[in-house]
């Protein structure tokens, strides 16, 4: 299958931080979990995917569009869910859809209404009156209404309760399957990625330390546990938190075994 997103050598230099030559690709309909410590470069990477024209180097191809050369066309393919949102706080959700949806060529008002209903959001409520969780649902409804090929979520569910997060990710997964949209979720809550991610990338100090399928990572962890504690230790559910914490030891051991 052709990749929906291709990132090659993406670099962004700041005075005190550099995102260093990040490269990866993502197929349509898959969810990539982007994790790492605070300040590792997750938000920088997400912002560079939204605004690659400002990058210091590298390329971003979204659905066949060179996002550096044509950022306007590329943004038509992107839905964004993040804390710093650009919606109009003093008007209703309906008017947000009408006024801001006009920026998107494929914005479908009926679809927007369907998602508002599905997410139990009233069209007549003003954006200001929504709770943080409801704002995230609204952002998801707005994003899905313009049929993006790629959804970018930056700490979208951070600080929200477990019940809401579970419901939100259920809605997201449902939408991903229905719309065949690819998603990049930047979060340091690895429990969320346990549930929904197909691939996991770990960023450290501006570099992508690893980018692998969740299944491969879990298998690597199981092998590691088997080597350490016997066959029984390699069974059961694997938590990404354990995988990330032990990644260096796991890979070192694997390399040593090869030698």
């Amino acid at each position: 299958m052709e990749n929906l997103l291709e990132v090659k050598g993406l670099t962004k230099k700041y005075f005190s931080f550099t995102l260093k030559e990040v490269s990866f690709s993502l197929e349509p309909g898959y969810i990539l979990g982007l994790t790492g410590r605070n300040g590792a470069g997750k938000t920088t990477l997400i912002k560079q995917l939204i605004h690659p024209e400002t990058a210091s180097g590298g390329s971003v191809i979204i659905n066949g569009i060179d996002a550096k050369a044509d950022p306007i066309a590329a943004k038509q393919e992107i839905g964004v869910l993040m804390e710093e949102q650009p919606f109009l706080t003093d008007v209703t959700l309906e008017m947000n859809g009408i006024l801001l949806g006009a920026f998107y060529e494929r914005f479908d008002m009926e679809k927007f209404h369907e998602y508002l209903k599905r997410f139990e959001l009233s069209r007549e409520t003003t954006y200001r009156n929504l709770s943080r969780g409801m704002r995230m649902k609204f952002q998801l409804a707005f994003a899905l209404a313009h049929s993006p090929k790629l959804l970018l979520m930056d700490e979208a569910t951070g600080g929200l309760d477990v019940v809401f997060r579970r419901e939100f990710y259920y809605l997201l997964q449902e939408a991903v399957e229905k719309e065949l949209v690819s998603v990049i979720i930047s979060t340091h809550v690895t429990e969320d990625l346990d549930k929904v991610a197909d691939y996991v990338a770990f960023i450290e100090g501006g570099c992508m330390k690893f980018y692998e399928s969740k299944e491969e990572l879990c298998e690597l962890y199981r092998d590691y546990m088997r080597d350490l504690h016997g066959e029984a230790a390699g069974r059961g559910t694997v938590k990404l938190e354990d995988v990330i914490y032990n990644y260096d030891k796991m890979t070192d051991r694997k390399e040593a075994a090869k030698e």
Binding site: T54, I72, K75, E84, P86, D90, V91, M109
Partner: protein
Amino acid sequence: MISNKSSMAEFSKGAKTPEEAFDRQILSGNYMLFLIVGLFLVVGIVGFVGLMPVPGVVAVAVLFGCLSAGVLAGPLFWEVSASNRTIRRLSRAAYFPIRTWPFILSKWKLLAMYGGVLWLFCLVIQLIFGVIFGFGNILMFQGALAAVLVANVIFYTVLGTLGAKKGE
């Protein structure tokens, strides 16, 4: 592109286009800062009235301090906050598939309007105090205010435009 013209027309109280909606959004909330300016003025006036009976140079200096808080700091605070909010809001347009640079530049009238309203506001207040205290001192304030105001507008416009360009 959506073509729900009737729904747009229903929004008769304000915006009928996304750009107008942005303008409304940019302006909304800033009027609250007038209250803060008012608070500064109240402090100045209360200080003035309260310290009136106290004789001597120190009292005059304190009075002057209170008045500068009311006349100078209040509007400046408003200007800094309003500029900051405005530019921050404009910068967020970068998330939509529009050309941010021309979009922000197209708002120069809006920004100029802010400057104009603020200027008139300050001028009226300072004229009142000028009548009471003499225009020499007030002109000094006016000069300082003008310098800071211009620097502030340039600073925030450049910063905001760069910020928007970088998508920060």
